[in-house]
């Protein structure tokens, strides 16, 4: 009752203060227009609307820092503090009452902000409730809790410092803990240790300068909740300690209990923070930013690359996967020796973030060596040709930041070696055009069983057979995708179309998407004699690009049973790209050499093929294409440039489509035979261009 009455007094004081109403109205108006901006027209993006509101959060934090000072100073200014001290539990009740008041105020603000959000986005066709649930948690975590902590920090400082000195202090703290902190500290913020510190202390959106990732969703990892709990505990501890210093004698037993609980929990959390985990970091000031981690790693790796020659197939995968703080996988695989010689050791690819713990075969431990993305296993005895053996491999660790797998979201596609793969090459390679993802498709049919414990719902290319169990076959690999995605077409047409909940509005284009895709598939299948198994049963349309957004080879990944259609980290108002011609360019590499599992020897060469054929296709089918996706022509320096330029010039001329198509067919045969050689290409080009001049 004392506490509630104290809270009520606080409410009377606030509601009779016009400044409070002015601030509140300004704040909510700003929030309304902020959300409004992202809920209309060209800027539409439900995710960005929240992530881009750092100014509102920053403003709210400042207000609450002042409220914190007010909490302490209110009685001091009114000379009431002494009276409350003379009343049994007087100050304590007041303090708790005021905390409760601010707690409820924060809660109400969260509800208001959330209501505005729902009010603006619900009528705009964003209908998935789990997304709103996350949005609410986001507002609680990055607005509400941040406001409340700011208030506590303000109160703590005000109880330490008397007089006006508090105001500059509060401004300093405000600059430090707000989401725009690295902005406030300018160049100093780029110093490595300091930038880590700023990222840690930031109570707002953790990636304030990054685009919203509609697949991953809001960053609501447990880590961020724990960080705030940690701050809350530290502040409580400091309050208790201050109380102790002020009171000296007369300390109750209970007090020591609180202190012990505080210190115990702080210790436990410090330990928790030292553990490995994957959180979503996209902040160019930070070393751990997801765009750079692998780039740095593979740039250093790019020189050494001698892979032993072996011909093996893995025909069975029995995978037990658990995704919590770490990814933990136990897998039993069946290996077949497909070469003429016996095998005594085998090499598999596995992303280096997964640390192999144990390899065994029929309960016998085998010796193994893990180096970068290569796992070398000594077989118990020589494996004769055509014979098979079973291996159990367990590993755990963190996936690549570009193929995240944590308790929020999972993106482990078939082309990434998150399962031991007989297609031996590093997960990425660093090339002239930057970091590119290598293709690890299996190349042979395999039976897969998956049991899975982690975030849900899970989308994969094999069939669900139990509550946490999937089973099926694939000759490409296993893809597992979890996140803020949902199935949009409810399989009406035999295809499961999965995309971020926030992109729902683009479904009107689904028939057109399907039609165009089928058409290109049919044409390519006929042209290059590639048999596909019909339209894929699963299409995953997700924002997976963030490193090489300009390489058309990185967009689409097609495995016979499913198609991963990647796009950039932006709201996608349409399924097909704005420029109609562009889609052909993305699909050609996916349906041709990537589908065939042809390894990249010369990216420039393959890219020339992709764009030349895509251009020819567009020309053939009357799709407007201004050629802007064709390789840019430098002043001719080398023979390579000359070949490129003569091909490009030739195909850009109108007419002769049949012949251009035939050229591409022959070129692809060359590629299929294993050639990525410019001289052979030159010979082919000379044939065609000479013939053409003859005509």
């Amino acid at each position: 009752m004392k506490v509630f009455n104290s809270m009520n007094v606080m409410w009377i004081l606030f509601r009779r203060n016009p400044l409070f109403w002015i601030l509140l109205v300004c704040f909510l108006t700003y929030v309304y227009y902020g959300f409004h901006f992202y809920s209309t027209g060209y800027n539409f993006s439900p995710g960005e609307a929240l992530v881009r509101m750092s100014f509102a959060v920053q403003g709210g934090m400042l207000a609450f820092l002042f409220f914190g000072v007010l909490l302490i100073r209110l009685e001091e200014n009114n000379h009431l503090h002494d009276i409350f001290s003379s009343i049994p539990k007087g100050n304590f009740s007041k303090f708790i009452g005021k905390l409760l008041f601010f707690f409820i105020l924060v809660l109400l603000i969260c509800l208001f902000v959330f209501s505005i959000y729902v009010f603006l986005f619900l009528p705009k066709g964003i209908s998935f409730l789990p997304f709103y649930y996350d949005a609410f948690l986001y507002i609680v975590l990055y607005w509400g809790i941040s406001f409340f902590l700011s208030m506590l920090i303000g109160a703590l400082l005000a109880s330490w410092f008397k007089g006006k000195i508090i105001y500059p202090l509060i401004l300093f703290v405000w600059a430090l803990i707000g989401p725009a902190n690295s902005y406030f500290f300018g160049t100093a913020a780029s110093k490595p240790v300091f930038s880590d510190f700023l990222a840690w202390i930031n109570l707002g959106e953790p990636n304030p300068y990054a685009l919203f990732n509609d697949l991953y969703g809001f960053e609501l990892s447990l880590y961020h909740w724990m960080k705030r709990l940690f701050m809350l505990l530290c502040i409580s501890f400091l309050f208790l300690f201050t109380h102790f210093l002020r009171k000296r004698g007369n300390i109750e037993k209970r007090f020591y209990m609180y202190v012990a609980v505080c210190i115990g929990s702080i210790g436990a959390l410090i330990y928790y923070f030292t553990l490995d985990r994957q959180i979503y970091i996209s902040n160019s000031l930070l070393a751990g930013t997801r765009e750079r981690v692998d780039e740095t790693y593979y740039r250093a790796l790019s020189h050494e690359n001698s892979v032993p020659h072996q011909v093996i197939a893995i025909t069975k995968y029995d995978v037990h996967m658990k995704i919590k703080r770490l990814v933990e996988i136990d897998t039993a695989i069946t290996i077949v020796n497909n070469q003429k010689q016996p095998l005594d050791n085998i090499s598999l690819s596995l992303y280096h973030g997964f640390k192999v713990i144990d390899v065994s075969s029929s309960h016998k431990k085998l010796s193994f060596q893990q180096k970068n993305d290569l796992l070398n296993i000594q077989l118990p005895s020589e494996l004769p040709p055509k014979q098979s053996c079973q291996l159990s491999i367990s590993y755990k660790g963190l996936s690549s930041p570009l193929f995240f797998a944590n308790s929020r979201a999972v993106y482990l596609p078939y082309y990434f070696p998150w399962l031991p793969s007989s297609n031996v090459e590093p997960a990425f390679q660093y090339t002239k055009i930057g970091l590119i993802r290598n293709n690890h498709q299996w190349g042979n049919d395999a039976e897969i069983t998956l049991t899975y414990d982690g975030p849900t719902p899970l989308y994969t290319n094999i069939k669900k057979v139990g509550s946490k169990k999937w089973h099926g076959r694939s000759s490409f690999g296993l893809s597992v995708v979890v996140g803020k995605i949902a199935e949009m077409n409810r399989k009406n047409d035999g295809t499961q179309f999965v995309q971020p909940m926030t992109w729902e509005k683009n479904m009107y284009q689904y028939p057109e998407f399907k039609e165009r895709t089928s058409h290109i598939m049919e044409t390519i299948s006929r042209n290059f004699h590639i048999p596909y198994e019909g339209f894929p049963k699963l299409v995953v349309f997700v924002p997976i690009l963030s490193i090489n957004d300009f390489a058309v080879e990185e967009y689409i990944w097609f495995a016979s049973d499913h198609l991963i259609y990647g796009t950039s980290l932006q709201y996608q108002a349409t399924i097909l790209p704005q420029d109609e011609a562009n889609y052909t360019y993305m699909l050609v590499p996916a349906l041709t050499w990537k589908y065939k599992g042809i390894p990249i020897k010369d990216m420039e060469y393959l890219h020339l093929f992709d764009s030349v054929y895509a251009y020819v296709y567009n020309q053939q089918h009357g799709i407007p294409d201004d050629g802007s996706f064709l390789p840019r022509m430098n002043p001719i320096k080398s023979e390579k440039d000359q070949i490129k330029s003569s091909i490009v010039q030739w195909i850009k001329k109108e007419g002769n489509v049949e012949m251009k198509n035939r050229f591409c067919q022959e070129w692809f045969q060359l590629i299929e035979s294993g050639s990525q050689d410019w001289n052979e290409l030159k010979k082919l080009v000379e044939q065609y261009i000479v013939i053409k001049e003859d005509l």
Binding site: L13, D82, G90, R248
Partner: protein, 287 residues
């Protein structure tokens, strides 16, 4: 009724001794007289448990100040500077205090609030906001809050400072009115305030008690030492400064009140007042 016994209380701030071995027996309506900086507020804060009791003992009946949780319910305190939340109404403020003081029963709370408001004569103003009250009214709100919960010991620190003469007289009457059945400690450096309200008086200066006793006992100190003389302005200049208590103008002449061990020519001996005793003690202490 119990006596508030203070024994050998000491208080220092850093190296400055603010209270030096204070021992008092506080009962009835009790005045604490002393110039600025004497340590009155400090002593009262210690009694009100706002400052820790570091040296010495304080007891009231069987309650010791070592356990301040038992002491707090006994105390009603009006600090030297009092104000309340400006935008709240008198009734709201007092209601808040009543609840904090643990008067949880609603009927009891209402009747007690009404009684207290009547007592301090603020019933009419109970729905005024604090910011519209005069200084005297605010002080009365202060008294009202101190009385809530019917504390055994009421401590009022300089209750009349800054009040005009009428308000002051009213305030003294109020203090007298509430003094029944409780111990009231009033501090002041204005002697008249205590003269009419207090049964017991202590005088302190620079952290020590110069004198303690009932009003009569205190007056006895200067009994027979106070003289009044009717002089003109020329004669006034002849009188040594140290003897003068006060000078009153009467037409073109002056009535001078003096302290003296020996009899003074042409002066008549008069009844001493508390002020005489106070000045006498202060003079003695300062030399």
């Amino acid at each position: 009724m119990s006596v508030l016994e203070i024994r050998n209380v000491k208080k220092r701030y850093k190296n400055k001794v603010v209270l030096n071995n204070i021992s008092l027996n506080i009962k009835g309506t009790y005045g604490l007289l002393g110039p600025n900086g004497a340590g009155k507020t400090t002593l009262m804060k210690i009694i009100a448990t706002l400052l820790p009791l570091e040296e010495g003992t304080i007891t009231f009946g069987d309650i010791s100040w070592e356990n301040d949780q038992r002491v707090k319910p006994l105390i009603g305190y009006l600090p030297q500077y009092f104000s309340a939340y400006k935008t709240m109404k008198v009734y709201e403020v007092l209601h808040h205090f009543a609840i904090l003081k643990g008067i949880t029963n609603k009927e009891r709370r209402i009747s007690e609030l009404d009684a207290v408001l009547e007592n301090v004569n603020l019933y009419e103003q109970r729905n005024e906001k604090i910011k519209y009250l005069s200084g005297g009214m605010i002080r009365r709100v202060g008294i009202a809050q101190a009385l809530l919960g019917n504390p055994k010991i009421v401590i009022v620190d300089e209750p009349t400072a800054g009040l005009d003469i009428q308000e002051r007289v009213r305030f003294r009457n109020l203090l007298r009115k509430i003094s029944a059945n409780r111990t009231i400690i009033i501090s002041s450096h204005i002697v008249e305030d205590l003269e009419t309200t207090c049964d017991y008086v202590a005088m302190m200066n620079k952290g020590t008690i110069l004198l303690e006793g009932s009003r009569q006992e205190v007056l006895q100190i200067v009994d027979g030492l106070v003289w009044e003389k009717d002089v003109n302005s020329r004669d006034l200049e002849q009188i040594p400064e140290s003897q003068i208590i006060s000078v009153k103008e009467a037409g073109d002449r002056y009535i001078v009140r003096m302290l003296s061990q020996e009899s003074i020519k042409e002066a008549k001996r008069v009844h001493p007042t508390l002020e005489d005793a106070y000045l006498y003690m202060m003079k003695g202490d300062n030399h």
